[in-house]
Symmetry: none
Subunit: 215 residues, 2 copies
DNA sequence: TTTGAATCTGAGAAAACTCACAGAAGATTC
DNA sequence: GAATCTTCTGTGAGTTTTCTCAGATTCAAA
């Protein structure tokens, strides 16, 4: 684990209390040395580390065959940063300031899965499976459990047509009997929540087939 | 797809509901014949098929250059069977009894994996089975569900003549009675949409036989 | 060239599909 | 135990899709 000054010490305390055994290092060079000398389950790294660029350290870690999931912390919320972060080998990305609870949840998710980007994005809609939260342009949307499950499935398959029976089976585990309009109702609920002020719905109807998210 | 009796019919129903268009055949010989006469995305095969050994049929399919992923179903859980199954050219292996959800997941995984070429192209016409989209020179065409199903089948078998009964069975699942005009109507619908500004239709009529896409 | 069968296509009826709304039933919270 | 939220069902309107029918056209064989 590496970070600067007070934030670093704060994180050491927070993660310790959550049951982790963190090691704090001062800069990228030290991080590399430590990571090569011992196994770590997870690497938490601030992009704004002293001396070197965080993305470079990330690449160097990957180049030296260190496969532990890397969670990047950054103050920036720029798309290009996100892209560069992920391209350089990071597994997830967290923008400061953040809630400790979210940090811990993401750490656990990374440890559980080993890897993978945690948030799904379509247009200005963002879904965070770990936190079970959906936001549009930063403002949170309140969804019920079923609405959330449906949206998550749609977003995981953004651009792809999901048939009515696929959706029913996945979200409701139904014996599909073809006369069910629960799905229609929930699509309508979702649209009411995610499409306010949009000219076209993010959820497109493919008549006779099913629905498609985006595109 | 091939299997015996009730299990076969059950699988036909389950996969239909999940959005597939299954064809059930009685034995290995019929499977071979059908697979050679038209393209299939995936072959589901019970090792315990009538008459011949399932592994043999698998080899014959591969020998006759059929590359569709093969998913083998078997009652046995023996390692040597698994090895023989995979050696004979199967791509995956599922032991009975199994959950339908798992079967569908494995089918989707095989389709995803084998999807080296995701889009079908004939002339300037492009069809993307995953996205369920058809475009001509980049502009999208709006097709109804039946129109799409028909076009997809034609494009998957581009250059091959598809008989009227094959088309009717695949798209409509009809008891073909020889007097049916629905096919003609839909061919006409398709031509209207995909042939605008073309001197010759992409869909050729093979009088007395059926239709052929391109070439 | 004629003839009969096959194919094409326009029109319209029937069926299917989607959506919106209202409200019942069930779960949860206070 | 009342109020609220969530889930699901039922209904009907509006629209699209599907299919049938019938007449026109094309094709190939005689």
């Amino acid at each position: 684990m590496e970070d600067d000054g007070s934030v670093g010490r704060f994180l050491v305390q927070a993660t310790s209390e959550a049951g982790f055994s963190p090691r704090l290092v001062a800069d990228g060079a030290e991080a590399l040395r430590l990571a090569q000398s011992a196994h770590f389950d997870l690497i938490l790294m601030d992009v704004m580390v002293p001396t070197v660029n965080g993305f470079q350290i990330c690449r160097q870690l990957r180049d030296s065959k260190i496969r532990a999931p890397i969670l990047m912390l950054t103050a920036k919320d720029l798309v290009e940063d996100k892209v560069e972060g992920l391209d350089s080998g990071a597994d997830d990305y967290l923008v400061k300031p953040f809630q400790v609870a979210e940090l811990l949840a993401r750490m656990r998710a990374l440890l559980r899965r080993g890897a993978g980007v945690t948030t799904l994005t379509v247009d200005d809609l963002e879904l965070d499976p770990v936190m079970h939260q959906v936001s549009r342009n930063g403002t949170r949307l309140e969804l019920s459990a079923t609405e959330y499950a449906l949206l998550e499935y749609l977003m995981k398959n953004a651009g792809r047509v999901l048939t009515r029976s696929m959706l029913l089976q996945h979200v409701w585990r139904y014996d599909f009997d073809g006369s069910d309009n629960v799905l229609d109702v929930y699509i309508s609920y979702l649209r009411k929540k995610i499409d306010v002020g949009r000219s076209k719905s993010l959820i497109k109807t493919e008549r006779g087939v099913g629905y498609r998210m985006g595109y």
